[in-house]
């Protein structure tokens, strides 16, 4: 099971959401996608997308304005 990291720090709407979706499409079932970003709306919207896609949200952390979202496909 692989861990796929994507860095969308400094990127704005809709790039964090779109890059997350692209990574999830490329991931195999069971793989973990880790997204790091700074766009504040995306911190709320990526979890919404994860729920809509019926995937598993493993956690959300934030430190010094950088959030990290972990998703299991």
């Amino acid at each position: 099971m692989a861990e796929i990291k994507i860095d969308v720090k400094g990127q704005t709407c809709p790039v964090p959401l779109v890059e997350t979706r692209k990574a999830l499409r490329r991931a195999a079932p069971g793989d973990i996608v880790v997204v790091e970003g700074t766009h504040s709306n995306s911190k709320e919207e990526i979890p919404m997308a994860v729920r809509a896609l019926k995937l598993e949200l493993l956690g959300i952390e934030e430190r010094d304005g950088v959030w990290t979202i972990r998703i299991r496909r």
Binding site: T12, P14, V15, R21, L24
Partner: protein
């Protein structure tokens, strides 16, 4: 991926060729795809001009274009804010499975042939019936 068998759908008519409105269409389309929906954009009239070869980034600003000065200023602000280029948004849209339909009537009226258009982006050439078939079972329909 555990997605519903029949995905919900967003269908957008892009009638405007304005740069800012093309952004709206592609951002909403990409957002729908990212949130697990299907998406279709029907490029018609001035919107179809943006599918001409080399035309994607050529649209004026819908307000305060000021012969291109307003467009240039907004473009600069967008780059400072790190807003993605239209070419990236359209490629992401296609990569996520977004569909692009080109309006055939517009092609006829404006004397545009398939060879004049970005055939790499276009999935289908259609008329109003194609749009209605796409829109009738869509959760979201927009006219931009």
């Amino acid at each position: 991926m555990a997605e519903p068998a029949v995905a919900e759908k967003a269908t957008i008519i892009l009638h405007s060729g304005d740069m800012d409105k093309l952004y709206s269409a592609l951002i909403v389309g990409n957002g729908a795809l990212a949130m697990g929906m299907e998406a279709t954009i029907f490029f018609t009239f001035w919107g179809l001009q943006r599918l001409r070869k080399g035309g994607l980034e050529k649209g004026p600003l819908s307000k305060m274009n000021l012969l291109g000065l307003g467009r240039w200023m907004i473009g600069r602000r967008m780059r400072q804010a790190n807003v993605a280029a239209l070419e990236k948004l359209v490629r992401d849209y296609k990569e996520l499975g977004g569909k692009i339909i080109a309006c055939e009537m517009t092609m006829e009226i404006m004397g545009i042939g398939k060879k004049d258009l970005r055939e790499d982006l276009i999935d289908q050439y259609g008329a109003v019936g194609t749009y209605i078939q796409e829109a009738r079972d869509s959760k979201i329909t927009l006219f931009i």
